[in-house]
């Protein structure tokens, strides 16, 4: 055991460093910025050393060694980029390209394909393989995932994900040698809530998500660091957007939350979040009608209504709203005298990822129930009951109002709807303010265990839609209830000074990996 802690001396491409015993050459090289090309190696999976791409030259060793599995030995001298190492790499790429269809122009992975990258780098313009290519075809491994056998380089990352992480070993290599391909065993059902991770781990375009197929070229996508809103786990994701649309979500590594993985439900939730007709302009009631107005008019109307002292404020909020928006509403309610706010939580069956047990698709299918709770809102199974017959001010923040009873909100002196979609029940509001989704603004969610995580803005909101924390704080300024916030970071700073659980946290501390509980203040991890 003590041996593990022992530090070993190693020289990589002329740079000397010390690494703990057991470190592989590949990992040690990364520490000095030498990225050794690899296909079968994936940091979240075991290393079978099959692709033979990561070979390096080690002084004194008779042949090149596979750096992904070769542990560093004391005083080892490694060269990652000598003629011998380059020749070995070029050979591996040449072998991989022998039967490769080279259909990059219609391949989903083009632009983010490791085969393309290294083929380019080790580059031979003309193939030396003049024999006929093997043609294998394609197949669906699940209703959502298509397998292009001709593009497969048999790195077995997908097989290992299912074996080691999903612990649902349904994928296998069928046949041997060059006739090998990936499939489920005959009669096995491939139904796994984490299945699409195999698309992410595939280093080439052999496994593709039907949902993304032919939708965009990888290089046309903008990437934004975000948080999955699909459940209270708060998986770190990267949103791929194109022309103001989310085309896909991919997991973003966070060892504390989701490692390299995320669930299929989350991916779909991200894509569908904010879909459908949106509220694009503020509206104010004029007799029986909601009339579009501009923001100054809307805020004027609202401050006037509040000036008329509508009575104490109640709220129904969404647990998908950001901490910043919820906090802004809380402040507004305090202005009027808060009568309490509630939120509801849609639930679904839990799904575990046994190979990384920290990650579960959680029962609570909202991202910020914990955040709402910490801000004093109450979880309720009957959110509409509290509004029923309420005569003061009623605020609805981003709850869809689906299932609201007839005449919802009509008793309230002032009914304000802040949200993204105008469901029938919201039409009886006095004032409607368009807000933005998590993808259209910066903010934070607090996950099931109290970890606060930031997401960045990936899209512009439609029309005049603005984040509620922004418009809400403009309103508060009008009411003379404090300064106006220009950034989500400022809102969070104010929030953190009021809510003890967030003490000491700010956007810088949160970074892009989040911080906070468990163990609280000490649990800060710089991202």
């Amino acid at each position: 055991m003590n041996d593990e802690k022992k530090l070993l001396n190693v020289t990589i491409d002329g740079v000397e460093l010390e690494v703990p015993a057991g470190t592989t050459i590949l990992a040690a090289a990364e520490r000095v910025g030498a990225v050794i090309p690899r296909y079968c190696y994936h940091p979240g999976l075991s290393a079978p050393a099959v692709c033979r791409m990561c070979l390096v030259e080690v002084e004194g060793a008779p042949k090149p060694l596979a750096s992904c599995v070769q542990p560093v030995q004391d005083d080892m001298v490694v060269h990652t980029n000598t003629a011998q190492a380059r020749k070995a790499r070029r050979a591996a790429v040449e072998f991989l390209l022998m039967n490769h269809p080279l259909d990059c122009p219609i391949c989903d992975a083009a632009g983010q394909c490791e085969l393309q990258d290294y083929a380019f780098e080790t580059g031979q313009l003309k193939t030396r393989y003049v024999e006929p290519k093997l043609v294998m075809g394609r197949d669906k491994v699940t209703p959502e995932i298509v397998y292009f056998a001709d593009r497969c380089i048999l790195c077995t990352r997908c097989v290992r994900f299912m074996d080691e992480i999903a612990k649902d070993p349904v994928l296998v290599v069928i046949n041997r040698g060059q006739r090998g391909y990936i499939d489920t065993m005959t009669g096995e059902l491939f139904e796994n809530p984490f299945s699409i991770n195999i698309v992410d781990v595939c280093p080439v375009g052999a496994l593709v998500n039907e949902d993304f197929l032919f939708k965009a070229r990888a290089w046309d996508l903008d990437q934004t660091a975000s948080i999955c809103p699909g459940c209270s786990q708060g998986c770190n994701v990267s949103l791929g957007t194109k022309e103001e649309r989310i085309v896909r979500a991919k997991p973003r590594f966070n060892p504390e939350v989701n490692s390299y993985w995320m669930c299929d439900h989350g991916r779909k939730t991200v894509i569908n979040w904010g879909a459908g007709a949106r509220i694009e302009v503020p509206m104010a009631r004029d007799g029986d009608e909601l009339k579009p107005v501009d923001w100054p008019q809307a805020l004027d109307a609202l401050s006037e209504a509040i000036g008329n002292e509508p009575g104490r404020a109640r709220a129904i909020v969404s647990a998908g709203a950001s901490n910043e928006s919820l906090f802004t509403l809380r402040r507004l309610m305090e202005e009027l005298g808060s009568d309490g706010g509630v939120f509801r939580v849609p639930t679904g069956p839990e799904a575990e990822l046994p190979g990384f047990p920290k990650l579960k698709l959680r029962r609570d299918r909202v991202p910020n129930a914990k955040g709402a709770e910490l801000l004093g809102f109450q979880r309720s199974d009957a959110v509409f009951d509290s509004a029923q017959g309420h005569r003061g001010a009623l605020f609805v923040l981003e709850d869809t109002l689906e299932g609201a009873p007839d005449g919802f909100g009509t008793n309230a002196e002032l009914f304000v709807y802040i949200g993204t979609r105008l469901n029938p029940a919201a039409r009886s509001a006095d004032i409607v303010l368009p807000s933005t989704t998590f993808a259209e603004m910066a903010g934070t969610f607090t996950n099931f265990e109290g970890r606060v995580q930031r997401f960045e803005q990936a899209l512009r909101g439609p029309g005049l839609a603005r984040p509620w924390w922004l418009t809400g704080s403009a309103l508060l300024e009008r009411l003379g209830a404090g300064g106006r916030y220009r950034t989500a970071a400022e809102v969070f700073a104010a929030l953190a000074s009021e809510v003890s659980e967030y003490e000491g946290l700010n956007y810088e501390v949160l970074g892009l990996k989040g911080a906070g509980a468990p163990g609280s203040s000490a649990a800060a991890t710089a991202g």
Binding site: P64, K87, A91, F95, E131, G177
Partner: protein, 429 residues
Amino acid sequence: MAYPHAHPREVRLLSKYFGDEDAIGIEGWAERGGYVALEKALEMGPDEVTEVVKESGLRGRGGAGFPAGLKWSFMPKDGKRPNYLACNADESEPGTFKDREIMRWTPHQMIEGIIICSYAIRAQHAYIYIRGEMVDVVRVVNDAVVEAYRKGYLGENILGSGYDLELTVHLGAGAYIAGEETGLLSSLEGRRAEPKVKPPFPAQRGAFGMPTTVNNVETLAAVPHIVENGADWYRQWGTEKSPGTKLFSCCGHLQRPGNYEVSLDFNLKELVYDLCGGPPEGRQLRAVIPGGSSVPLMTVDEIDCDVSYEGIEAAGSLQGSGGLIAIDDSACLLRSIRKMVDFYAHESCGQCTNCREGTVWLANILRRIERGDGREEDLPLLLDVGANMAGRTICPLSDSAAVPVVSGIQKFEEEFVAHIKDGTCTAVR
């Protein structure tokens, strides 16, 4: 009935009872001195047994020639985890058919070796991983194991020594690569027969993650003789570095193909021309492959060497498994080599890029040359592809596939060149 072609110049230690039907059953085997070595071994300590085998210099007969006693000494002695023995009876190397004969005629010779080795390495469970296609041999081995249990040579408290051993016969499902030791262990565990990266070596992490020794049938069959008669006795044959006797399975263009057991200092040329009778009447040998298809071809000029590991190596090839293939002037060498490469392409487990793709590439080029579409640049290409396959993969199958091609071109270049130029084979007479 005598075994075909037994030759007076052989030293018939392991093969003494080949052809003797009465030696197959346990009673007959006991009458021929069977299981005496086991009794002796059980009276010695396990390490003492290992020491004798070490001193005898017995080397692995599965192809790599690793010293058996040394391999045994790597096994942990602390008893913290179960130790295993796997007897490699997968014999699939083209041109090799010696283990089959040991098992067919003298199954108890192997089983006795297995029990003694298991005792020495402190294994409580041993496996015979046997090539499933050898249906008749499997039957013989199964019967022999049952007999050994009945006699108390297997099971609990063997011969009252307090030592327990279970022996399981496991059938392979038809893959050459299951003969590679880590591939064998994967297959034994119920997985695809895929070799694994070493280290960890089987003695650290073998079958089911436990320390395991893998030895070839012939290696284990030699053990009872050594334990019974001593290391010095065994060393009366062979050379300093290659003591003892070895079975050579000789096939191809020979007058008397078959298994021959010779002292390891025997002359290879004499083995071919005297024991095996040389090529058929009117034919001339052109190439000899001395150790199974995985070792370099030798020209007839090269074979005047002794059959020891070091003797054949110095002469430009390897002893390998002792599967000798003789090729005369009735066969097209290029086609013979292509068929070997086809075998490797078919048997590559396909994990490693270089092996999976390289084997097929080599075979395809050779096929094209055979068809008459060879190009001048094909020879340097074959050599370079071969070089890119060697020393880069998890197991040596990839190297093995390149070996006949590379050594063929090196030693018979004119024939390849002519083939390309003439568009057909002109060397066959």
